[in-house]
């Protein structure tokens, strides 16, 4: 009970301290003598401390199953395993916002400690903008989604956590994603501060670069985790559904990807000043916009376990406030950019970075329009349409092909100067090799269409070029080359996976057999067991292959009691070359099981390549600035 009050008052203290910091930073701006660096440090730490206090109180409430707390009541119950009691803290709306706030206060504090080489004015302004964001979240937490609402009389048992969220990956997926989102707020605030002070230049870019890479890396990993979870928990073997909520996490990632490149151009060549600021604003507002669309329940998606229209209204208001504020500041201080419009040469690194930004912004617009167009159409004409994978494939794949080719050539170019391809022959040879290879792959092993074949050729090209660069350059620009290599591997794995996937679906009883190419799939027996908070039905399948060892797969069906939900746990056998994926489902009469067996090549490589992509980001974070 005490923790309810502790948590609530910690939040209130956060609010007060945040206001104090806000006022202090404004006063210090006008009066340099007022600036007491140490005290601001302490205040920021104090705020962070109270955020920790509040968050730990909520964790404790979840651990001790204190059902006088509304959040705990709605999202937990006594028989749930301890691990999921803890992870349930941020598996719901209120808790996840509190986590967001915690991360936000931490990074604000961390920024202040690590920005001593920046001008004092700029740091103060950055902190001021951070406080605006933090205050927005605090008001939202306290007014519309307080995690510490008390219920009386105290219920005996909670309502339980949605079983599909009871998963180890889902325990770390939101925090990782939030780390990514929240760090974009630093980039946002710092770019606004730099804009006001006229500090947007190559030195600023050099310092903010780290934050951009931190954010980008966390977002990449966060999206990867969500995708792996969707693969084994949600679907029948899909890992990306072009679901609105997935799209929403991809949008800030795309604009961050553009920012990662454009901040480099700003650092090395002092170009794209205003574009960098605009991208920083876009990235952060897309993050908030995502929160709005997810929480408001406007979107129809697999993630609709978390929504509330009233909360949506608040976030919408906050979103418009932030957009208005940043656009206002942008146009007032726009003339502070020290612009020098340079004529660019064609075959240079900077022009390929501009190309990158052009294409990435296009991909972003496809996803943005594809996600929000149905909402507008429904409001305006009351007609519902669905925008699904075919739409995105059609609009993205044709542009992905030149994108991959530019991505191969771009890093081989130099800054400033036109350099004629000295290794022209090699590049063309690799290109021809890639085309032949992809033609062979699609002709003899799969039934790929022309567009897929060309895309395959383009990704083979990037693949070979990046390998060549890795070997040749040694360790000069390895973070970039590794990320590009990872990207080519990602596209390759996804393509090969979609070309070579095979499957069989059937209804089976115990003792039944089905044939799948040269394999025989046998349902041997069924077994019922009772776990802590669910009933488990395990099916034992044996897969016999000629001249090979047998494989046993054990998919499950789980029947959770609080709330009553049936989930299918797929049995997945992962190999270097392919995944064997078996999932069962109850058929109404219960005598038969609906069985789907899939062989999905290169699944593992999709995850590995995403890790390689983020590895490039990690290397860049720890790389010393030259």
């Amino acid at each position: 009970m005490i923790f309810n009050y502790l948590g609530n008052f910690a939040l209130l203290f956060c609010l007060i301290i945040s206001l104090v910091i806000f006022i202090t930073s404004i006063k210090s701006l006008n009066n340099k003598n007022f600036f007491l660096k140490k005290s601001l440090n302490e205040l920021l730490f104090l705020k962070f401390f109270f955020a920790i206090l509040s968050f730990s109180s909520l964790i404790i409430l979840f651990i001790i199953s204190e059902f006088s707390n509304e959040t705990v009541l709605n999202n937990s119950h006594i028989s749930k395993p301890l691990f999921y009691k803890i992870s349930g803290t941020w598996g719901n709306h209120e808790g996840s916002l509190l986590l967001w706030l915690l991360v936000l206060t931490f990074f604000t504090f961390f920024y202040f400690l690590n920005s001593k080489n920046r001008p004092t004015d700029e740091r103060l302004l950055t902190i001021m903008f951070q406080e605006v964001i933090i205050l927005g979240f605090l008001f939202f937490l306290l007014k519309a989604s307080n995690p510490f609402n008390i219920i009386y009389p105290v219920p005996k048992e909670g309502l339980g956590l949605n079983p599909i969220l009871q998963d180890p990956l889902l325990a770390i997926h939101p925090p990782v994603l939030y780390l990514g989102y929240v760090t974009t707020s630093i980039v946002f605030s710092s770019s606004l501060a730099g804009l006001i002070k006229g500090n947007i230049n190559n030195l600023w870019a050099k310092d903010i670069k780290k934050w951009v890479f931190i954010s980008w890396t966390f977002l990449t990993l966060g999206i990867l985790l969500g995708s792996i979870w969707a693969y084994y928990e949600l679907g029948w073997g899909g890992f990306w559904f072009w679901d609105p909520v997935e799209n929403i996490s991809l949008m800030p990632w795309l604009s961050l990807t553009a920012l990662v490149h454009c901040v480099l151009a700003l650092e090395k060549r002092s170009i794209l000043h205003s574009w960098t600021v605009i991208l920083s604003i876009i990235t952060f507002t897309l993050g908030i916009c995502g929160t709005f669309l997810v929480r408001s329940g406007i979107l129809n998606s697999v993630h609709t376990f978390a929504n509330d229209p009233e909360r949506g209204l608040y976030i919408l208001f906050f979103l418009f406030f932030l957009i208005f504020l940043s656009v206002f500041i942008y146009f007032i201080f726009e003339d502070k950019f020290k612009l020098n419009n340079k004529n660019l040469n064609v075959f240079t690194k900077e022009s390929s970075i501009i190309l990158n930004n052009w294409f990435v912004m296009y991909f972003l617009s496809v996803i943005l329009i594809g996600t929000i167009y149905p909402i507008f159409l429904e409001v305006l004409s009351n007609e519902k349409i669905s925008v699904g994978p075919p739409f995105f494939n059609k609009l993205i794949i044709p542009f992905l092909i030149p994108f991959l080719i530019f991505m191969s050539i771009g890093p081989n170019l130099k800054w400033i100067k036109n350099n004629h391809f000295t290794k022209k022959l090699k590049l063309i040879l690799i290109f021809i090799l890639s085309i032949i290879l992809s033609a062979l792959v699609s002709k003899f092993f799969g039934n790929a269409t022309l567009n897929i074949t060309i895309l395959l050729a383009a990704s083979f090209y990037l693949f070979f070029i990046t390998i060549k660069d890795l070997i040749k350059k040694g360790f000069k620009n390895y973070s970039q080359t590794i990320s590009h290599f990872g990207f080519s591997l990602l596209v390759l794995s996804i393509l090969l996976n979609s070309i070579f996937s095979n499957e069989v679906t059937s209804n089976m009883r115990v003792g039944d057999e089905i044939k799948f190419y040269d394999k025989i799939i046998k349902l041997q027996k069924l077994e019922n067991t009772t776990e802590a908070n669910f009933l488990k039905l395990i099916a034992y399948f044996k897969i016999e292959e000629k001249n090979k060892t047998e494989l046993v797969l054990e998919p499950e069906i789980r029947i959770y009691d609080k709330p009553v939900t049936i989930t299918s746990e797929a049995a997945i056998k992962t190999d270097i070359l392919k995944d064997r994926f078996l999932v069962i489902n109850l058929v109404k009469e219960n005598e038969y099981l609906n069985v789907r067996y899939q062989e999905k090549p290169f699944m593992l490589w999709i995850w590995i390549s995403a890790i390689i992509i983020s590895l490039g980001g990690i290397i860049n974070i720890f790389k010393k600035n030259e």
């Binding site: 949600l234 679907g235 029948w236 073997g237 899909g238 559904f241 679901d243 609105p244 129809n300 998606s301 697999v302 993630h303 419009n341 340079k342 004529n343 660019l344 064609v346 022009s351 501009i354 052009w358 912004m361 296009y362 617009s365 496809v366 329009i369 594809g370 167009y373 159409l377 004409s381 519902k384 349409i385 669905s386 925008v387 699904g388 994978p389 075919p390 739409f391 059609k394 609009l395 542009f399 092909i401 030149p402 080719i405 050539i409 391809f421 022209k424 590049l427 063309i428 290109f431 039934n447 790929a448 269409t449 022309l450 567009n451 897929i452 060309i454 999932v583 489902n585 109404k588 609906n594």
Partner: protein, 124 residues
Amino acid sequence: MKTKIIIYIIFLFFTLYNYSFSYDLKLENKINKNLRCLICQGQSIYDSQSDFAESMKLVVKKKIESGMSEEEIYSFFKIQYGEWILYDPQFNTKNFALWLLPILVFLVGGIIILKKFGVSKKRL
């Protein structure tokens, strides 16, 4: 040289683009992937395991066996459940902006880049 190759490829690609899109998957799976499971949250009937999706899959199978074309099957479902059920939005008076807006963004982006940097004519 390089740029010419790229231009040729892009050209080749666009001309054969729509033509090539029609036969990539087994027809049944392709249709299943394009139909929304109406009782699930954002999954196609191919990806779903609900009773609704299962019975829909049977309907699709029967329709294919009875010799209906892909388009006919789509319009059958569209009449029954509305356009909401199709994942691949059709290009019509309501949806043309959906298809054209991204392309417009791309073109405008290109124009802005050309104007801002006055890139020399050597590019592409």
